[in-house]
């Protein structure tokens, strides 16, 4: 019955599709955005344990340690290797004279641990040349909006010279700030500061050890804070959730998607029932039970709901595909939980509106058809 009424069929499809799209798309952006709070961790896949000052909270909210911490960590059993890691912010002057805020990441001079896994341009050899920095790929768009080739560009950092000689394939940070990777020893020159400037010690673990076990041991022996990748990644995500209005804003949009769904679907449903109340009455008089009527409407609502849901999810996929070239959306994916959440929302929307609409059918006296 429902599927035969084109106007209402498309109304329902639109309501559900729109709702699904809004919920799925907004949740996807939300999750991907807050996960960027952990990008600092994800960009260094080899580090199993991050050691830091006890007051440090995330990769970007950190308090520097004395350089002796490195040897302390190296002496902990189960630590296979440990390297210094520097993370700081600085102001950079570009060739055109603009001032730009950047993240400076100092990676171990010898092993280059701390660098993202892949370079999209240049090779690791460039670090042998003096004043080398490697820029992150998304950062290029901020620093060289006009499309200038970044390779070979000279920058000025804390009165020091820096030359871009490579581009790293990195997950952008939450703020998409430009990131410059350089050797640890070089980074010390770029970042003005006091004696203590080592932000983290990155550690690998020996075979047969777990990251948790080694981290606990490091904390015990050194009095420093040691976290596994997952712990520090989570801390970065939590920091964004706690310190930005993002959850509220996205929450409101998702709620709006739900409410719009309820409104459109509810309205269409009740119009459908109102238009067909005589037919429902006739079915009841003929001898169709309420249970059968409910089943009939539920099957049709389920069908429309499923198609609308599919449209909404495909719409989100299409949206991400369309914007895949946009650096803001770099690495965006749809976590499997999100389509489940929107499916749940669709079911709730249909159940609420369907229940309200069908009540009038159930209340209709079969005798009403003769009136």
């Amino acid at each position: 019955m429902l599927t035969g009424d084109a106007q209402k069929f498309y109304g329902l499809l639109f309501g559900i599709g729109f709702s699904t799209l809004l919920i799925t798309q907004q949740l996807t952006i939300f999750v991907n955005l807050i996960e960027r709070g952990a990008s600092g961790v994800y960009n260094v896949p080899t580090a199993k344990v991050w050691v830091m000052d006890p007051v440090s909270r995330t990769t970007d909210v950190n308090y520097a340690m004395p350089s002796t911490a490195l040897d302390q960590v190296r002496s902990v059993p189960g630590v296979e290797w440990a390297v210094p890691h520097l993370r700081a912010t600085a102001a950079v002057r570009t060739g055109t004279g603009d001032l730009e805020g950047v993240s400076i990441i100092g990676v171990d001079d010898a092993t280059l641990i701390g660098l993202p896994k892949n370079l999209v341009e240049g090779s690791l050899d460039v670090f042998a040349q003096p004043d080398t920095v490697v820029i992150d790929d998304v950062g290029i768009n901020n620093m060289f909006e006009d499309g200038t080739d970044p390779i070979g560009q000279r920058l000025e950092l804390n009165d020091q010279r820096a030359v871009i000689r490579g581009v790293a394939d990195a997950i952008p940070s939450f703020t998409s700030q430009v990131t410059l990777y350089t050797k640890y020893s070089q980074a010390l020159n770029y970042v003005p500061g006091t004696r203590n400037r080592m932000s983290f010690v990155l550690a690998g673990i020996s075979d047969g050890e777990t990251a948790e076990g080694v981290a606990d041991r490091i904390e015990e022996q050194t009095g420093l804070k040691a976290e596994t990748r997952d712990e520090l990644a989570q801390a970065g995500v939590d920091f964004i959730i706690q310190n930005t209005g993002i959850p509220t804003n996205f929450g409101i949009t998702v709620l709006l998607g739900f409410i719009v769904g309820v409104a459109i679907v509810g309205l269409t449903f009740s119009l459908f029932i109102r238009d067909n109340i005589k037919q429902f009455g006739a079915l009841k008089a003929i001898g169709v039970t309420n249970a059968k009527i409910i089943r009939m409407v539920a099957v049709q609502a389920g069908l429309v709901g499923f198609i609308g849901y599919a449209i909404g999810v495909l719409g989100t996929v299409g949206f991400l595909a369309a914007f895949s070239g946009n650096p803001f959306f770099k690495g965006f994916y749809i976590p499997w939980q999100i389509p489940l959440i929107s499916l749940g929302s669709v079911i709730v929307i249909l159940a609420i509106t369907g229940f309200i609409a069908i009540r009038s059918v159930l209340r209709t006296e079969p005798a009403a058809v003769f009136r």
């Binding site: 009841k284 008089a285 001898g287 058809v369």
Partner: protein
């Protein structure tokens, strides 16, 4: 009801289709209660086309609604082919209607989104028959009603008379023993109304089947086997012809 073998030599007495006794129906109207039916006693015989006529508001619709099991009487008892229908549980009554009663409404009330054959097949499908055999049976009947060629059309693609014939097919497809119609010709012009009633007479009247028709339509009174006249909720005439003063 059924007679024993020792019955007299004349034909055994037929089972009455509807036996209504002391039917009273009140409606709440704001604070007060109005009595629409004042104790109606009547029997409807199978093999006959019984008309219920009377002025608007006289209680015709109320009476047949009670006789076919869709409206509870305030007082009284209705037996349809021997079953005391208002002593059945809700579900039993719904199933009783599904098995035994065919309905024809003034507004046809066909389902707009399914074709004529599917509409006519609704009672069979509700009884649990599979779609295909149900459709086949419905199409046979549509053929008999001369609209077999319209079987695949949606109701809105049919004329009023054609829609009412689909509705007649729906009322008869499951071979009910009682067919009730409320103003079946009211929405039709004189000619199609007449044709529909002729057809109804042909197909709905059978030895073991009763047909009750509520109507205003004096153009078709001549088709009745029996006419009941209602006035203010009372039967004031019961005969084969209309009374002279009408």
């Amino acid at each position: 009801m059924t007679q024993t073998q020792s019955a007299p030599s004349e034909a055994p007495e037929r089972e009455v289709a509807i036996c209504a006794r002391g039917i009273v129906r009140d409606f709440e109207a704001g604070q007060s209660t109005i009595r629409v039916l004042h104790g109606i006693d009547t029997d409807i015989q199978p093999g006959e086309m019984t008309y219920v006529v009377g002025e608007s508001g006289s209680g015709k619709t109320t009476l047949i609604s009670i006789m076919c099991g869709i409206l509870w009487p305030t007082e009284g008892e209705v037996r349809v082919f021997g079953t005391d229908i208002y002593n059945l549980s809700d579900t039993e009554l719904v199933n009783f209607r599904l098995e035994n009663i065919g309905f024809i409404f003034q507004q046809y009330n066909l389902i707009p989104s399914i074709d004529a054959a599917a509409n006519a097949a609704v009672p069979l499908i509700a009884q649990g028959m599979a779609l295909e055999p149900a459709r086949r049976k419905a199409i046979e009947l549509l053929d008999a009603l001369n609209i077999g060629d319209q079987a695949n059309k949606l109701p809105k693609q049919l004329s009023g008379g054609q829609q009412q014939r689909v509705a007649i097919a729906r009322a008869l497809v499951h071979e009910p023993r009682l067919v009730v119609c409320d103003e079946p010709t009211a929405a039709l012009d004189a000619k199609s109304g007449r044709r529909v009633m002729d057809l109804l007479r042909e197909v709905a009247v059978a030895e073991d089947r009763a047909c009750i028709i509520v109507t205003h339509d004096n153009r078709i009174f001549d088709l009745a086997d029996r006419i009941l006249v209602l006035e203010d909720g009372r039967v004031t005439h019961d005969g084969t012809e209309m009374p002279d003063d009408h």
